[in-house]
């Protein structure tokens, strides 16, 4: 697990913002690929690689495949240059967008989601996020596991009644419309009900206390913060220079 001292919250936030900026402006597949590899190594050290792999398999991969089909095969080009059809240009564009999405997800996971909940709440505190806003952000970070649970429930319910005759890909895809509809109704309905119960139970107040009690600032290292910022700045320079 990650044992080096963490950077102060403000450095962490700034470095992440810089990294995001670099990701958005980077145009090189090699550079984006290398950066992704680097972040994957970090996630592996943090023990978060499996969680990211699940996210990538469920979100990034389908989106990437869709982009390949749309820009590589259907439009055969990039949004900026549609004059001459080119499958290569379309595929390259789709690859860059997919890598950017993967990298954004990986950096976010490494910078924020790897933190234990009290530390994360403390971090959000240091960004002056409190009360309901804090509860909404923290619960949103748990939204993905909640959505996954709901989808699994729907598939399990169909299986238990023999309504999913087999587990072939096409059969699973057929469950999607039903799953998505039910997912939004049940997840949103339950989310609203939960938000009410946070108020009634005083959980928002507790969340604030939990964040305040987590020893955030004192065990942070300014050197680690400077290192994070330096890496992020180097990344932005590499992204803007057009290398390689």
């Amino acid at each position: 697990m990650w044992t080096s001292p963490p950077p102060p919250p403000i450095f962490r936030g700034l470095a992440t913002l810089l990294a995001f900026f670099g990701i958005v402006i980077a145009h090189s597949v090699i550079l984006l690929g290398a950066a992704l590899l680097g972040v994957l190594v970090t996630l592996s050290v943090q023990g978060r690689l499996r969680a990211f792999a699940r996210f990538a398999g469920a979100v990034i991969l389908p989106v990437g495949l869709g982009l390949m089909i749309i820009w590589g095969l259907v439009r055969q080009g990039t949004p900026d240059d549609m004059a001459e059809p080119s499958i290569r240009a379309g595929v390259l564009y789709a690859t860059i967008v997919t890598l950017r999405l993967a990298l954004l997800g990986a950096v976010f996971q490494a910078a924020f989601l790897a933190l234990p909940t009290p530390k994360l709440v403390n971090l959000l505190h240091s960004f002056r996020i409190r009360g309901r806003g804090l509860a909404v952000i923290v619960s949103t970070l748990n939204l993905w596991p909640d959505f996954r649970r709901h989808v699994e429930n729907i598939v399990a319910a169909r299986c238990a009644r023999g309504l999913m005759p087999d587990r072939r890909l096409i059969t699973r895809l057929r469950q999607l419309p039903l799953a998505v509809r039910t997912l939004f109704i049940s997840a949103l309905g339950q989310g609203l009900e939960r938000a009410d119960s946070w108020e009634a139970s005083g959980l928002i107040e507790r969340l604030n206390t939990l964040g305040a009690r987590a020893n955030g600032a004192s065990d942070c290292s300014p050197i680690a913060g400077a290192a994070w910022l330096a890496m992020a700045a180097l990344w932005v320079i590499a992204a803007t220079s057009g290398w390689p």
């Binding site: 909940t117 005759p165 989310g191």
Partner: protein, 412 residues
């Protein structure tokens, strides 16, 4: 009963609010919660769909306990109780992956950690095994509940209530009871059984299972169940009853062992629900359509009509299942499964949220299914329900299945 009197006289003394389905108990509990809040206290209601009371703000069981109780002086004591209840082995799990009973234990501890003035536990105690139910009552009578007046409701048979409340209060004596005008009833006369096209024994050989990164739940199970009979699968909360049921149905993947149906190898994971259909403990995990009518649309027409009538939802066909009260959601989920034509059925806590009259109707329904040639396995903590079913009893303990009666045909 005036809320103020209740709150002042029954701290640390759990009160049982007695009544049948639709007698207005939920409304009474919710009303007391509001009155408590109006009086400046903290009133908390926990309903039978207990997963809804999990905060969803933190990822693990340990964090959930920390969030609710870390700033209270009782935190260490609560952790001791959590350990005694066996929750410590689930600390790194998501609260949503716990079994129904374990969720009840966690939520009860968490809510007590908030130091409520009033705590309404609506039907949650039914999901607990006998020992855990007793432990929860003791907990609600302990120093940890020093500021708390707890009122609980429970359904099913009175014979199953081994725990003794400090006071028994009839729900019929309250104004809220009058707000329920029409009481949909569960009537086994409406049940339409369709015999399976093929029936046969269900056999398990050397079945083992463990969840990822966790200790084995099931260890080398061997048993054979005969069609046309009713079996009960018993055991403590979190022992793996539902896991076994989900493997037999094909909801979970068989990792090691063999399942044989009618003397032929069967892989339920590849063809889920073909030979074994399952009714889940939590109806919210079983319902997926946007209206009662669409929930039953996969059944043949006569069974569809019968299923709606049996569940008592004939007048609510266009309503969203999640808009129905828990008791009706449970009946709808039960009916949707029971009206399938399958060789085997597994019912996980079918009487949850159902009063004694409704439970009797479920007994009649299950008997008809067995008489019609289907095999039935019932998972239940209600000893009286199992007795009335005259089921062959099996008990799951430490990953092993044991005969409770010599007559059960379980080969070890």
């Amino acid at each position: 009963m005036d809320y103020a009197v209740l709150a002042s006289e029954y701290r640390r003394k759990p009160v049982f609010l007695d009544g049948s389905n639709f007698s207005g108990r939920t409304a009474i509990l919710r009303n007391w919660c509001s009155e408590c809040a109006s009086a400046g206290g903290r009133g908390i209601y926990v309903g039978p769909n207990v997963h809804q009371s999990v905060s969803s703000l933190v990822p693990t069981v340990a964090d959930e306990l920390l969030l609710h109780a870390s700033d209270s002086a009782r935190f260490d004591r609560l952790l001791d109780v959590a350990r005694a209840l066996g929750l410590d082995r689930c600390y790194d799990q998501s609260p949503f992956t716990l079994s129904g009973g374990e969720q009840v234990l966690l939520v009860t501890l968490c809510k007590l950690g908030l130091g409520p003035t009033f705590l309404g536990l609506d039907g949650t105690i039914e999901e607990l095994d006998r020992d855990n139910a007793q432990r929860v009552i003791e907990l609600l009578s302990s120093e940890l509940a020093a500021q708390t007046t707890t009122v609980l409701t429970s359904n099913g048979y009175s014979e199953d209530r081994h725990w003794r409340p400090a006071w028994r209060l009839p729900a019929s004596g309250f104004d809220h009871a009058e707000t329920v005008q029409k009481r949909p009833c569960l009537d086994s006369a409406n049940f339409l059984f369709t015999p399976p096209s093929e029936s046969g024994g269900l056999e398990v050989e050397d079945l083992s299972f463990s969840y990822e990164h966790h200790a084995p739940v099931l260890r080398s199970l061997n048993f054979r169940l005969e069609p046309g009979k009713i079996y009960s699968l018993e055991g403590r909360n979190g022992v793996g009853k539902s896991t076994l049921a989900r493997i037999l149905t094909g909801v979970l993947r068989l990792r090691r062992g063999r399942i044989v149906f009618n003397d032929r190898d069967s892989n339920p994971w590849k063809t889920p629900g073909r030979n074994v259909a399952m009714h889940f403990q939590n109806p919210d995990s079983q319902l997926f359509a946007d209206s009662v009518e669409r929930e039953l649309v996969d059944l043949p027409m006569p069974a569809r009509r019968a299923a709606a009538a049996f569940a008592g939802t004939n007048s609510q066909l266009t309503e969203h299942p999640f808009d129905l009260p828990f008791v009706l959601r449970k009946r709808l989920a039960l009916s949707a499964v029971a009206h399938l034509s399958k060789p085997w059925f597994i019912f996980d806590e079918p009487t949850l949220g159902q009063d004694a009259l409704a439970s009797d109707e479920i007994v009649k329904m299950l008997r008809r299914m067995a008489e019609g040639g289907s095999g039935v396995v019932v998972i239940s903590h209600s000893a009286e329900f199992i007795r009335r079913l005259n089921a062959k009893r099996m008990r799951l303990e430490d990953g092993q299945l044991h005969n409770v009666e010599p007559s059960a045909q379980i080969t070890q």
